[in-house]
């Protein structure tokens, strides 16, 4: 595994008006890492992801994505993003699973028509997440777990090198959650770099290899085992995370 840094935040702060959301955040993510972002509600986890993706601009500090500014066109097509409300897509809109996954090719294709190669990448992505039989189904008719798989497939179709998921297990049942984590483990095993937010700390720590714990400031950053050692996870869970 090549340990090059894919994402780095250096002394990053962000707030809305006078209200700070995150302060002095510094950490980096190396290629092939499966990083879990944890912390209580309002701790700034989603904000950190949006800063990393160039959706928000930091007030202070520097962010580098694939060695460039996160809003650079060159890096954005290398990131697959599954947003927080992914399981709450508009069920009324007619759009098939295949059409959603095909959207992953849009940043790469630009204004040119899609080619056979694009179609092949879409089919590969559908097969990779195990929903090829659902390709002609309306997205809104899928279960929460199937929808999340389709959104992960969209990211894979984009040839993403970094997969960013913001609470993908919200609103899906235990079996679908377990199945989604199996998929993420499999992608991680294949070399995908993953950054994940999940409220289910107990499940998350079983799968990730690095943890960043936020509570406006970065309270912990390091290997999962060190996190488990340093903090009493059982105590944290009993505390209602």
């Amino acid at each position: 595994m090549v340990n090059d840094v894919i994402l780095s935040l250096d002394d990053v702060s962000f707030g809305y008006g006078d209200e700070p959301v995150v302060e002095e955040i510094t950490f980096s993510v190396e290629r092939g890492t499966f990083l879990g972002l944890v912390g209580p509600n309002g701790s700034g986890k989603s904000t950190v992801l949006k800063l990393a993706l160039g959706l928000l601009t930091p007030e202070d500090g520097e962010i580098s994505l694939f060695g460039e500014h996160p809003s650079s066109d060159d890096v954005r097509s290398r990131v697959g993003y599954v947003p927080q409300r992914g399981s709450e897509i508009d069920r009324r809109m007619p759009i098939t699973v295949e059409e959603v996954v095909t959207l992953g090719r849009v940043p790469t294709a630009g204004l040119r028509p899609l080619r056979r190669n694009d179609r092949e990448r879409v089919n590969q992505a559908l097969r990779r997440v195990g929903i090829e039989s659902l390709n002609d189904r309306r997205m809104g008719s899928l279960s929460g777990g199937q929808r999340q798989r389709a959104l992960v497939a969209r990211a894979l179709a984009a040839d993403a090198e970094l997969l960013v998921l913001d609470e993908p297990t919200v609103g899906i049942d235990a079996n679908a959650r377990s199945s989604l984590y199996d998929l993420l483990d499999s992608l991680h095993h294949d070399g995908m770099t993953i950054v994940l937010i999940d409220h289910d700390l107990g499940t998350l720590v079983e799968h990730v290899d690095m943890i960043a714990q936020l509570n406006r400031h970065l309270e912990f950053f390091g290997p999962r085992d060190a996190f488990l050692e340093e903090l009493s996870v059982v105590g944290q869970l009993a505390g209602g995370w």
Partner: protein, 277 residues
């Protein structure tokens, strides 16, 4: 008794009906085409707001024609005014904290108020103004046909090139931004195309009814298929049926064409709902 076939033959050989059919067929394509991207962004009423602004543009054009001997079609003035209004609407939506429908309501009422103010200042309420307000196939000139055809070619060409980006933004705005899609630029393209379609269609349907061509065919199609692209084709089919059947029935029963087209469309929507259940 006149048989439907004779009536059909009479309709397609009458010059003003030929012009109406040609313009209607263009509207039947571009209305649902643009509407498919608007409806699923919950922007169904934008056509209504822009049409009321187009009425102000037409009023300015008519007053310019009567007071300054300007001989051009009021539709050209309407096109310029609506594009400016569309860009203003986008600015208000992105630079103020108002709810999404507040700028729409301001534009809708403000455009209509401006139109009435200009008319009452410049000319009396004429039959020509009524034509733009309620629509009239008698008002469709060959200039209107050429204008609508040219506008349709422009709109279809732009959609053919940008449909992937427009769909990506329609489905998931945040992911589109994260993927580097220039969301604001595509929003501008969509709203300007909407302005073009509204102006092109208002002569036949009228400022009050024109939004129906953007919304009703799309609403009918969305319950019939799981696919976005198939829903566009279906909505165009519904749009064409609305226009052709509406024109035919309006001729047969001597009812205002714009109103008949919308009523036929709502009938088709109800049928589609029943089938889609």
């Amino acid at each position: 008794m006149v048989m439907p076939l004779d009536m059909f033959s009479e309709i397609v050989t009458t010059p003003f009906m030929q012009r109406a059919i040609l313009v209607g067929m263009c509207i039947g394509v571009v209305g649902p085409l643009i509407g498919s991207f608007l409806v699923h962004r919950e922007m169904a009423l934008i056509g209504e707001a822009l049409a009321h602004t187009a009425f102000a543009g037409v009023a300015i054009g008519i007053v310019a024609g009567t007071q300054m001997d300007w001989g051009g079609s009021p539709l050209f003035v309407a096109l310029a005014v609506v594009i400016l209004a569309a860009l203003g609407l986008q600015y208000l939506s992105t630079h103020t904290d108002a709810y999404g429908d507040v700028p729409l309501a301001i534009l809708l009422t403000g455009g209509f108020a401006l139109g009435i103010a200009v008319i009452t200042w410049g000319v009396a309420f004429t039959a020509q103004i009524g034509q733009y307000l309620y629509g009239s196939i008698l008002a469709v000139s060959w200039t209107s046909v050429y204008l609508m055809f040219a506008l349709s070619v422009v709109v279809i060409s732009i959609v053919l090139v940008t449909h992937k980006q427009l769909l990506m933004i329609t489905f998931d705005r945040e992911v589109a931004r994260a993927s580097g899609i220039r969301v604001a630029a595509y929003d501008t393209i969509l709203i300007v195309m909407t302005a073009i379609v509204v102006v092109g269609a208002m002569q036949m349907l009228g400022a009050i009814l024109v939004a129906a061509m953007l919304v009703v065919p799309v609403a009918a199609a969305m319950s019939l298929t799981a696919s976005f692209y198939r829903s566009i084709w279906l909505s165009i089919g519904v749009g064409e049926l609305m226009v052709l059947l509406g024109i035919f029935l309006s001729y047969v029963f001597d009812i205002a064409t714009g109103a008949m087209i919308v009523l036929v469309g709502i009938g088709l929507y109800l049928v589609a709902l029943a089938i889609g259940r």
